[in-house]
Amino acid sequence: MTDSVYKKFVQRWEDVMELPPTSLGPLTPLYKTLTRRLKVMPFPSLVIVSLLCVIGVYMLFGSAITLLASLLQRGF
């Protein structure tokens, strides 16, 4: 094994081992599937989830979401 390959191996080993693994018992595969989408270019997933949340709020409150938007627009 060349020096550079060994150094890359050691670096990758340290990257993987330095963090404690996240374990959620039986939910761990689901967690890993969800977070895989968020590690690289999360925005498409975030836009879809946000759209669903806002549509849900609209179905609950109807046109009253304009009050929420007005409140937030004054929030800065």
Partner: protein
């Protein structure tokens, strides 16, 4: 010369990290925690200062240097104090929860989480000028409200992801301990945000 080299190097890292937190947040935060320089906070400060300058103009609505300076100092001071408070809380509670990272990583990590915050505040300030509230219940009003809420929610979730990565890489905590730190920190920040609202500094907390 060494100072200029450090500043230029930090500027390049800052630019690279800004693009990274958009497209590859996980990898970028690992790099920020391992190799980031505190000098990058200066560039984050410049971005914030630009927003505070603009917000002072919008809040004050007149070009009076004393009032503009007062507003700028209030916003900048409030944001700085909030930043120190949040980093202090996250660091101390994180260490109590078993975190083993470095304060530098937490300072940098939380600094970069201010990017979605300042972006939301900047767009909201501009929309306040272009399309001032209140929104009506017409089709256009509801459509704009839906778009604005989607935009706000996306940035909120992005902020949550970056905050999670700050604790993951800055303190080397797992999900369970991150949730514990969050559950302890959030009520304190809610109370603090209410104080900021009462004092008229930030209506929406600049976290």
């Amino acid at each position: 010369m060494k100072i200029i080299e450090l500043l230029v190097g930090a500027c390049i890292s800052f630019g690279r990290n800004i693009i990274g937190i958009v497209f590859r947040p996980y990898e970028s935060y690992r790099r920020i925690a391992d190799h980031g320089s505190l000098i990058e906070l200066i560039y984050i400060g410049f971005v914030l200062a630009f927003y505070f300058g603009l917000a002072s103009l919008v809040h004050t609505s007149q070009f009076r240097p004393f009032l503009l300076t007062k507003e700028f100092v209030l916003l900048a001071g409030g944001a700085f104090f909030t930043y120190i408070l949040v980093v202090g809380l996250v660091w101390n509670i994180g260490v109590l929860a078993g975190g083993k990272g470095t304060l530098r990583a937490v300072l940098l990590g939380w600094g970069y989480t201010l990017i979605p915050t300042v972006f939301w505040f900047l767009v909201t300030s501009l929309l306040y000028v272009i399309l001032p509230p209140p929104r009506t219940t017409s089709v256009a009003g509801v459509s704009f409200s839906v778009l604005f809420l989607v935009f706000s929610t996306v940035l909120f979730f992005w902020k949550v992801i970056l905050a999670y990565l700050t604790m993951r890489f800055g303190l080397r905590l797992d999900l369970g301990r991150i949730v514990i730190v969050t559950l302890i920190t959030v009520p304190i920040l809610v109370f603090y945000s209410m104080l900021m609202y009462r004092w008229g500094i930030f209506r929406v907390p600049f976290l």
